[in-house]
């Protein structure tokens, strides 16, 4: 199960090419970092890999076949700002269970407390919210997780807690992880290799 980007290129409308001819691949169980100056298209590349955008050139394949168009997407993404990634008018249990039903073990591992489930998103801190966003992205059919500045807004202790849980799950399930971050120390700590764009 390999996730592969073949010579992909993208631009917004008639703007300049953000990137062209980008090749990247990631194997199950591998942790790959993506780094580069801001505005170079790291987030856009991630969005293409997770099918939020279609590339204008080239293609993304999973095991040699195009990414599925329906059903649970095998490539899931966690974003930098959890407060923008949840429905402000839903309580947390509904947000958590939208895609699948995470079990107790998952909630414990991520340190999600039962009493948080009955709260609204605005009643939780960024670190608490991000734990939910991670949990809901880790459905049983997730093969690759894209962490786009996933812990950038969090303090060091919360960051280490979340990454400890995510890497443990990834190892158990042989899930691949793509890490986008500007923090070189974090990159060194987590990644097997780094792609520069």
């Amino acid at each position: 199960m390999q996730l592969k980007a073949n010579k992909i290129g993208f631009r917004y409308e008639n703007g300049p090419w953000l990137f062209r001819g980008v090749n990247a691949s990631i194997e199950p169980g591998e942790v790959v970092g993506i780094t580069g100056p801001s505005g170079r298209g790291k987030t856009t590349l991630c969005r293409i890999l997770a099918s939020y955008e279609s590339p204008l050139e080239g293609e993304v394949t999973l095991n040699g076949a195009p990414l599925p168009k329906k059903g649970y997407h095998p490539v899931q993404m966690v974003l930098q700002h959890p407060e923008k990634a949840v429905n402000a008018r839903w309580k947390m249990h509904r947000i958590l269970n939208e895609g699948y039903h995470p079990d107790e073990e998952m909630l414990d591992l991520l340190g999600i407390k039962q009493e948080w489930l009955t709260r609204w998103p605005h009643e939780l801190s960024g670190g608490e919210l991000q734990r939910f966003c991670v949990a809901r992205a880790l459905g049983p059919d997730t093969r690759f997780l894209i962490a786009d500045e996933m812990t950038t807004m969090l303090d060091a202790i919360t960051q280490a807690q979340i990454w400890q849980a995510v890497t443990e799950i990834a190892q158990k399930r042989k899930m691949g992880i793509i890490v986008v971050t500007h923090e070189s120390k974090l990159m060194q700590r987590l990644c097997h290799r780094v792609i520069e764009i």
Binding site: S38, A160, S184, R189
Partner: protein, 307 residues
């Protein structure tokens, strides 16, 4: 004399639960910080520890359901709501945390120019954009056309052109690449060296250590320690509070080992020391009352066991 002083600040939010029932969330309690001219004070701590609330309290932009206690002074005179209104954007500038603070319907070049107080606004805006490596085309863009890092630099530009005496920068660095980050941090340092003061709110301890003079560590709405930059070294032996030590040791370069648990919610604060439920050193005494800040080894700490 301190340019900005915050004494015994407390902030609570009134919230409706069901029907007309109201509860008070105390998000900041007995908080003290002082800002000296020529100095950068970094405030580090967990998200939700009240760092942004402090920033908003100083410039006076808390929502109407907030009630504020304690005293803040600017240049020795009390910061009243009227004075805050008169000073903000002129003498005290805020770099807000959320990129949502940009006006979505105004081109970003124009937004930055509105902050210029003296001289040629266009020239000032172009100079600051060049310094932060934003291309000439960016000034004609709307916020939605910017990447996260570009939006962050636009927010920074607004404070940089304002000519303020105090800059309160709320998480100005996330999402910036190392080159731009260094440029932004250097600017803060230069700004302080000219006799102004910077309150740098961040959870990025590493960049705080590069430029700050002192570090205030926040936990659950109050300061637990004021430390010197040199104290953040090795395994954190020189740090005073157990939370500061835990924070230091959780960094990717220092072990990456987290302590369990999370910061208590403002609606369920423990009775005594706010860190006691997660603290390895906690004794029954710690649960009695919240310890006061005390001086220790050239710094301050809010812990009865710290040595």
């Amino acid at each position: 004399m301190s340019i900005l002083e915050v004494n015994h600040l407390s902030v609570s939010f009134k919230q409706y639960t069901t029907g007309l029932k109201q509860i008070d969330h105390k998000v900041i309690s007995s908080l003290n910080v002082t800002l000296e001219a020529g100095e950068i004070l970094a405030v580090v701590g967990a998200s939700g520890s009240g760092k942004s609330i402090l920033a908003h309290a100083i410039v006076g932009i808390l929502p109407s359901n907030a009630s504020i206690g304690g005293v803040m002074t600017y240049k020795g005179e009390e910061l009243t709501p009227e004075r805050q209104k008169a000073l903000r954007g002129k003498e005290i500038a805020l770099v807000p945390q959320s990129v949502n603070f940009l006006d979505p319907l105004m081109k970003v070049g124009r937004q930055v120019r509105t902050a210029v107080r003296a001289g040629d606004a266009i020239e000032a805006q172009r100079a600051v954009f060049e310094r932060l490596r934003l291309g000439r085309e960016v000034e004609r863009m709307y916020p939605f056309q910017l990447s996260g890092g570009m939006a962050r630099r636009t927010l920074l530009s607004t404070a940089m052109v304002s000519g303020a005496k105090v800059i309160i920068a709320d998480e100005p660095t996330p999402g910036l690449d190392p080159v731009v980050m260094k440029e932004a941090l250097d600017h803060f340092r230069e700004f302080a060296n000219q006799g102004c003061a910077v309150l740098l709110i961040t959870h990025d301890i590493e960049s705080a250590l590069q430029i700050a003079d002192k570090i205030a560590v926040f936990y659950a709405g109050t300061t637990v320690e004021i430390a010197r930059v040199e104290d953040f070294a090795g395994q954190g032996e020189a740090l005073r509070h157990p939370y500061s030590k835990a924070l230091w040791r959780a960094l990717p370069q220092n072990g990456f080992t987290p302590i369990p648990g999370s910061q208590p919610h403002s609606s369920a604060l423990p009775p005594g020391c706010l860190f006691a439920p997660r603290c390895g050193m906690a004794t029954p005494e710690c649960l009695q009352a919240q310890p006061d800040m005390r001086e220790l080894r050239d710094g301050m700490v809010r812990c009865i066991h710290a040595t």
